[in-house]
Amino acid sequence: MNLPDAKIPPGPIEKKWQTWLDQHRLVGPNNRSDSKVIVIGTGLAGASAAASLAAQGFRVESFCFQDSSRRAHSIAAQGGINAAKDYANEGDSVRRLFHDTMKGGDFRSREANVWRLAELSENIIDQAVAQGVPFNREYGGQLATRSFGGVLVQRTFYSRGQTGQQLLLGAYSALQHQVASGNAVVHDRHEMLDLVLVDGQARGVIVRNLVTGEIERHAADAVILASGGYTNVYYLSTNAMGSNVTAAWRAHRHGALMANPCYTQIHPTCIPQSGEYQSKLTLMSESLRNDGRVWVPRKPGDDRAPTDIPDQERYYYLEERYPAFGNLAPRDIASRAAKVVCDDGLGVGGTGRGVYLDFRDAIAERGHDVIEGRYGNLFEMYENITGDNPYETPMMIYPAPHYAMGGLWVDYELQTTIPGLFAIGEANFSDHGANRLGASALMQTLADGYFIAPHTVAHYLTGDREPVSTSDSAFEQAEDAVESHITRLMDVDGTTAAQVFHREMGNVMLDNCGMARNAEGLERALTEIRAIKRDFWSDLRVDPGRDEFNQSLEYANRVSDFLELGELMCVDALRREESCGGHFREEHQTPDGEALRDDDRFAKVTAWEYRGEQGDPVPHDEPLTFENVKLATRSYK
Amino acid sequence: MIPVADFWNSTVGKKTVVAVTGTILVGYLILHMVGNLNSLFGPGGAEPRVDWYSGWLREIAEPLFPYAGVLWLARVILLGSIVIHITGVLQLNSRNRAARPSRYPARRIGRSWESGTMLVSGLLVLAFIIFHILQFTTLSITVTPLEHGAVYFNLYNAFQEWYFVVIYLAALVLVGIHLRHGIWSLVQTLGLDSPARNRGIRYGATALTLVIVIGFALVPVLFWTGVLGAPETEAAIASLAGGTA
């Protein structure tokens, strides 16, 4: 199998998307209701795509595993969304946003995609405002912006610390509007368990109704996966409990390639872990780094209260190491810096895995009220969780797995290697390269969902297809496969909950495929994951009863896919013998500990092909070309 | 007329109607209380102030309306309000009970005690009103002497008996309970509340309730304690004479 063409339109980068739009085929308004599109996921990407396609007149069936489409994980995004509107009059532009994103991603993304993303960013804000998203406003009523890690302009739009929630509720309500108009149907508490291919085209899905346990078949003319990221493979992450890789992984097993799976983002500002029992880590928005200063005591093992440590005995390591960006260094850099100081024994908190994020100076300078206005709800949330008051004592933070830059390989039209199967949002390998800048995931999910997929999917729908019905043998086979996977999970009948295996595997992943990786560790991880997998299949227990509400079955099923994904991530990390963005191979670093890229060998996307449970995955490379940015060592000093 | 039906059929519409009728009833109560306070002018010779007032009520706008016309109009509005108020309340109540599974844990989460007993306090007030009209309007409860048009005389006699005083004071407590939540509630229902105003409105509701309750209570208490003297009208003398005979 060869990697198909990425279908990037010819011409100068500024014109590519317009060129594509001008030439794509259209479906007439009267014919649209003849086509049906399945959208898996109701996060920002899924809800916006479903609402937009339904509004155009296509029939849309949308699925999510939560009890309401409003609860998709996008709801948790806090900090904001980027757009090159230059309201702050700083000379920001599409080109600058493009450039920052390319550089932020350590030159491991496709130029054409990133440019389009930057170009569409403005429309997203307009769209969201029209839906009633209450972005913060300046006095005078104009939209407010702030700055975020990795950039020197204020282009981040926000709704207090609940930007994701407000954007999602906007997309959700647009989708509910379409449900009311009869163009879309939302199936909540339904989980996609398999993809159905007919004549090599994606023509439907097998889903499990999580309330009744019934296995259902749904046929369509195209399928869009907007199933989110897989960072929960680390068990402890900032993702929601239910976030999983199942939909993408099942597509992968049918031939959709998985690109750059090892690129994961470890977010620098999360509340540190406090105990074994913990089920997830809570992110504190990166926007806090706008006003908070990050430090650790200079003396190892200094156990004075942070407020008692005088300034000269504090190590403001980001400000010292990266004077230009200081506390606003990009995430991969800030995270690794925290790991380094903690490895050196300077870490604080019970586990020694924590650094301070201090607002003392900001409060002194700007006043309590201003800080409260900016971060009040985050401070409250922090206090709720830890019992400490950040107005009085510095926050404690530590990096945590947060975002998957890798995902299903897609071309410029966001189509995977399976015709008719599209992947959008965090589920695709997307536009962020090896590291995502803050506030750009929301931008990408919505660019994909509102403005790209609705056109590229429509374009695809003009092609030839036979009508299919759910009684087709392909559906039968897929359903049988799903049933037998469930039988396999239920028949193990051991004594250990899926959560236990998940936790074990998460620890292995974090230790060996986390903020820093090396060949030896990755090899070890592969062995350990395989051992956990064996244990899983010999000692798992799920509650009896497949034809009913059964959360332990849902969980076990997701973990079974994580176990396979974890392996692939390590394999990918092993093969990429360079350091770039979130992927830091210890063998490849500069003398002062910065990432060392190898552009000659690795300026490319690696997309993996599935070769069966026993077979080894096969890599395919898509070379990356750079015509509009200069490949440079990424410096934030 | 359809909109009116829709309005009445929705929970929000019905609740609004309950609030509007409640407001009318509160309005009446205030007027009634002020009217009653006329008795504080005392027996006042041949025509006690309160008797004059009662007569005036019936003679208002007389050339235009027949005798007691305005009074009857008011009575129709009042009766209508009470009927609508109670119908609305009962319908809402059955709907609300249906919305709640029967095994609902009855924990109160800061809900005021008054708000939880509106139906009971309201129904007891209704019982009182019936009794009260039988006593002072239709003059049917003749435990103590009653005379048409002789309000002061009627009140004086009734409130010489401790049990009437107790019944009226108890009724006033119930009215107070109903109004303390009711007055704040109607402001909220009518959408006049706001976070900035809420505290003020809550205090205002309590204050108005106190004014109404105390205003009413003065009458029986002052009669009972003898501060307000015996009536001196002809009817009184005649009745007293009859009584002693």
Binding site: A51, S52, Q66, S68, R70, R71, I75, A76, N123, V129, A130, Q131, G132, P134, F135, R137, G140, G141, Q142, L143, S159, R160, Q166, S173, A174, Q176, V186, S274, Y277, S279, Y450, P454, A497, E548, F549, Q551, S552 | F7, S10, T11, V12, G13, L92, N96, A99, R100, Y104, P105, R107, R111, S115, M118, H181, Q188, T189, L190, G191, L192, D193, S194
Partner: protein
């Protein structure tokens, strides 16, 4: 820490439920309530007993999935979501009662899991602006005073958890519905559908079998987002204006400036 848990067990919708008692030990005070239940479930799995079903997803108080009535109070004692309730808030050795959110409109699916689809249907009735995807006006051409944005945001942060319904002695969804109507009706973008929105949403709310509001105020006291009762006043007002056909008057704060 050690607790005795009385947990509501119900196999499926319509079935009679009952309380089952469990003891848990060795609980870290910093564990969240849901993590405590996770631990219980891991143990039950080992004992080959059926685990306790409960909803959760984000576990940071924003998705609105978690929905436990803890000691007779929706979400528990601290007016935060169930997932943000920590065991340190309970007395060591105490007995804790755990139930699902109860309302006729929220049928129990299993144990502590309910179907809150009725809230989605209330949104379907009118909880949106009519804007479909496509070119939109430049946002700064319709300025919104920060005070108005703040008020809209105070309402818009509702997480749709349904605790207000579970707390209300009338099973009323007025706080939820009021929050959405307040959010959209305050903003210039929400004006075209303004009059109709409140009517349609209230009618749907009634059809779903939610009770009416008698101003108990308990909803707001359990709401993890501290949505103010004011939104109910706003809903009443907007409904009346819409229904009685009066052209809605813009509140002064909302005028473009």
């Amino acid at each position: 820490m050690k607790f005795k848990l009385e947990i509501w067990r119900q196999f499926e919708t319509g079935e009679e439920g009952h309380f089952e008692t469990f003891e848990v030990d060795g609980i870290d005070p910093e564990a969240s309530f849901l993590e405590m239940l996770d631990q219980l479930n891991e143990r039950l799995t080992g004992e080959k007993r059926r685990t306790v079903a409960f909803d959760s997803d984000c576990r940071e108080g924003i998705c609105g999935s978690c929905s436990l009535v803890i000691d007779d109070t929706p979400h528990g004692p601290r007016q935060v979501t169930s997932c943000q309730t920590y065991m340190r808030d309970f007395e060591d050795g105490s007995t804790i009662r755990v139930e699902p959110f109860r309302s006729t409109s929220f049928p129990v699916i299993r144990d502590l899991v309910t179907d809150r689809g009725a809230l989605d249907r209330v949104i379907q009735a009118g909880g949106y602006t009519g804007a479909t995807t496509g070119p939109q006006p430049e946002p700064n051409s319709m300025p919104v005073a920060p005070e108005v944005q703040e008020r809209a945001m105070d309402a818009a942060i509702c997480i749709g958890c349904g605790a207000c319904v579970a707390a209300c002695p009338n099973g009323s969804a007025m706080l939820f519905t009021g929050a959405k109507v307040t959010h959209l009706n305050l903003l210039p973008q929400g004006q075209p559908e303004r009059a109709n929105r409140a009517i349609a949403m209230v009618d749907q709310m009634d059809q779903e079998g939610f009770g009416g509001c008698t101003n108990f105020g308990e909803c707001s006291r359990v709401c993890p987002q501290e949505i103010s009762l004011d939104v109910i006043g706003m809903l009443n007002r907007e409904y009346r204006r819409g229904r009685l056909g009066k052209r809605p008057k813009d509140p002064p704060a909302m005028r473009a400036q």
